[in-house]
């Protein structure tokens, strides 16, 4: 039901190989993440599902699914009492339900890994991961570990941090 990591496709995001840490050109100052679904709702997903951006980037979530509503909701105790999966100093966000064509923006300033989900589709594995800055940034907070707080479908949906760093932008194989 939920595509595995091997089904992620690499697109965009030029990789610059160096002798040290892999470097990628970070997107910014504005980026868009689309919420998508198949016509009958068999599959739903964020596109891209993994994204690397520079601190201060405004990310715009847009619902491109004509038959469903979606949310972009950060994993944080302040929102539905979920385990925190964004940097400690970051402000949690919740788009609330977005109908087709509606959008929501959030500006991410704190370096680290941000995991988020779609409220009605978390059990279907509709989650996403944004990297803000680079692991070498001061105060960088890496990905949260596995948790009983998450369904297996959600855990399987997060792309690996290394892959996002290497590719900059990761799209899940689409079903269209």
């Amino acid at each position: 039901m939920t595509p595995g990591r091997r089904e992620f496709l690499m697109v965009g995001g030029g990789v610059i190989a160096t002798l040290g840490f892999p470097r990628v050109t970070l997107a910014g100052p504005g980026e868009t993440i689309e919420m998508k679904g198949t016509a009958r709702g068999e599959h739903v997903w964020f596109a891209p599902v993994g994204l690397a951006v520079a601190p201060g980037t405004t990310v715009r979530f847009v619902n491109r699914d004509p038959g469903n509503s979606h949310t972009a909701t950060a994993y944080h105790p302040d929102i539905f009492d979920r385990q925190r999966r964004i940097p400690e100093q970051a402000v949690a966000w919740d788009s609330d339900f977005l109908l087709p064509g509606e959008s929501f923006e959030v500006t991410l300033t704190v370096s680290g890994v941000y995991d988020y989900y779609c409220l009605p589709h978390e059990m279907a594995g509709m989650v996403g991961r944004i990297l803000v800055g680079q692991p070498t940034d001061q105060g960088w907070e890496g990905a949260a570990g596995d948790s009983d707080d998450l369904e297996p479908e959600a855990l399987a949906g997060f792309p690996r941090v290394d892959d996002i760093i290497a590719r900059g932008r990761i799209l899940r194989e689409e079903y269209e």
Partner: protein, 139 residues
């Protein structure tokens, strides 16, 4: 005694049949009236969902429904049921569900990952009530 019981049973059957026929007539055009409510008035979903049209449901019948699906012309085009897979696996059955119209031209059954109102993976069972129903609900 037996004949009296038989007559009573026939009378009950006839009255029930009349009620069903009457109710079915009421449901053929949107809005179907109480206890049905428009799904998009109660949940964050589009007023017209491509493939399902404009949905009405009696909240007491959730999650299975029936959901009554109307086209843009207001005609009842399909009756839809939504059955969570987890419930079916755990032994829940949905029996004796009502239908919006007793004429069924075709049935589609497919998986849905979830949406507000039925936010768990479930099956959509769609009973189309005439040959053109699917096209009327398409967009």
């Amino acid at each position: 005694m037996k004949s009296a019981l038989t007559l009573a049973a026939i009378a009950l059957t006839l009255s029930t049949g009349n009620a069903l026929a009457h109710d079915e007539d009421v449901l053929q055009m949107s809005p179907p009236g109480a206890p049905y409510i428009q799904v998009s008035d109660a949940l964050p979903l589009p007023e017209f969902i491509p493939g399902l049209g404009t949905l009405f449901v009696d909240p007491d019948t959730l999650p299975a429904g029936p959901f009554l699906a109307y086209g843009h012309d207001g005609n009842l085009s399909a009756t839809v049921y939504m059955t969570p897979l987890e419930d079916l696996q755990s032994g829940t059955s949905y029996d004796g569900l009502a239908v919006g119209n007793h004429t069924v031209s075709s049935v589609d059954i497919y998986f849905n990952a979830g949406h507000p109102g039925v936010d768990r993976p479930h099956a959509h069972v769609v009973l189309f009530h005439d040959e053109d129903a699917k096209s009327r609900l398409a967009e």
